[in-house]
């Protein structure tokens, strides 16, 4: 970038987060995986924990997350990030441990891992990216695919008679006693992105205070496999996904609420 003079009366209000490397991501234009990466990085910067954070990348489009986050990272086998996080957090309780997982990773092949990790009350944080499809492999139906949604493996639309119903992970996980804070948010517009950032911050604060498992499910886009442009994908998700996957908290223990309210 060319050097530009910054007028003396101006202050920096948005800068590149230290918790991201300078690498350019391989995500498609407009893919909200990038927004979610950015929010996590901003939160880790604000909490000042970058140097003691370990992330765990999934299998899926975000498989290369370890190139993009400027911190220690491990790569788990498909769906196994919660098992790896369990081990890492138990042997290094002073570290901040989080998994970053897609819906194919967390809600299909890795369902057992996430459910049992939450049920054991493991003290890590999960960022669950729900884009209603398998992105990386070419847009096949995921457990979160909407009824009637056309994918490469449901060319006539998801038929709930044979393929079952979209799975509500935030509700499922939220009801387990090991969960302290579970919420569903969406990065589909600026206010939603701001709320998602607050939720991600509270999830990490929950972990730092040792209050239990925390998860933020984030409704995200996959314009490429939905066959839509970036803006159209945001609109489609707002119109169709939010209706099926209602936003809001599915679990907040009293101690997390007190933390949130600064008590």
């Amino acid at each position: 970038m060319a050097t530009v003079e910054i007028p003396a009366d101006m202050e920096l209000v948005y800068k590149y987060p230290e918790s991201l490397t300078e690498a350019h991501t391989h995500y498609c234009p407009g893919c909200t995986h990038g927004v979610i990466h950015r929010l996590i990085a901003e939160v880790l910067d604000e909490l000042g924990v970058r140097e003691r954070t370990i992330g765990i990348a999934p299998v899926g489009c975000s498989v290369l997350a370890y190139y993009y986050f400027n911190m220690d990272f491990a790569e788990a086998a498909h769906g196994r990030a919660p098992a790896m996080a369990t081990g890492l957090k138990r042997v290094s309780p002073d570290k901040v441990v989080f998994t970053y997982q897609g819906d194919g990773d967390l809600a299909a092949i890795g369902t057992a891992e996430i459910i049992h990790a939450v049920n054991r009350g493991e003290l890590f944080t999960t960022i669950f990216v729900n884009n209603a499809i398998y992105g990386m492999t070419g847009g096949q139906m995921a457990p979160t695919t909407l009824p009637g949604q056309v994918t490469t493996s449901s060319p006539y639309g998801r038929d709930v008679e044979t393929a079952g119903f979209p799975i509500h992970m935030a509700e499922l996980v939220g009801q387990l006693p090991g969960a302290a804070y579970v919420t569903r948010q969406a990065v589909l517009d600026v206010p939603g992105i701001r709320r998602t950032k607050k939720a991600i911050k509270l999830a990490f604060q929950t972990q730092l205070a040792g209050l239990g498992f925390s998860m933020v499910e984030v409704l995200s886009t996959c314009g490429t496999n939905w066959h839509m442009g970036p803006l159209e994908a945001l609109e489609w998700a707002k119109e169709h996904m939010v209706e099926y996957f209602p936003l809001g908290d599915t679990k907040m223990t009293d101690r997390v609420r007190a933390l949130k309210e600064g008590k």
Partner: protein
């Protein structure tokens, strides 16, 4: 004097246009007939004087293209601490 200012890291831009859709003063557009190193039409500012420094563009950008500056609310106090 502009109330805000954005710096654009052109080569990170993938031309998705999300920022263009959220800028409240409509001063962002994708370059016409000009491409960045990735081969995309990068975002550019049409009227820098109109920028308010609201950082909406930076908030929605998936590729961290923007750095945003905004005029200090109390210039005197800030000068004293500088």
């Amino acid at each position: 004097m502009a109330k805000g200012m954005v710096l654009i890291n052109e080569d990170r831009c993938k031309g998705c246009g999300l920022c263009v859709s959220v800028c409240p003063v409509h001063i962002l557009r994708l370059a016409d007939g000009r491409f960045n190193a990735k081969g995309y039409r990068p975002v550019e500012v049409t009227d820098p004087e109109a920028c308010t420094g609201c950082a909406m563009c930076a908030t929605i950008c998936p590729d961290v293209v923007f750095t945003v500056y905004r005029q200090r609310r109390k210039p005197k106090q800030a000068a004293a601490t500088a």
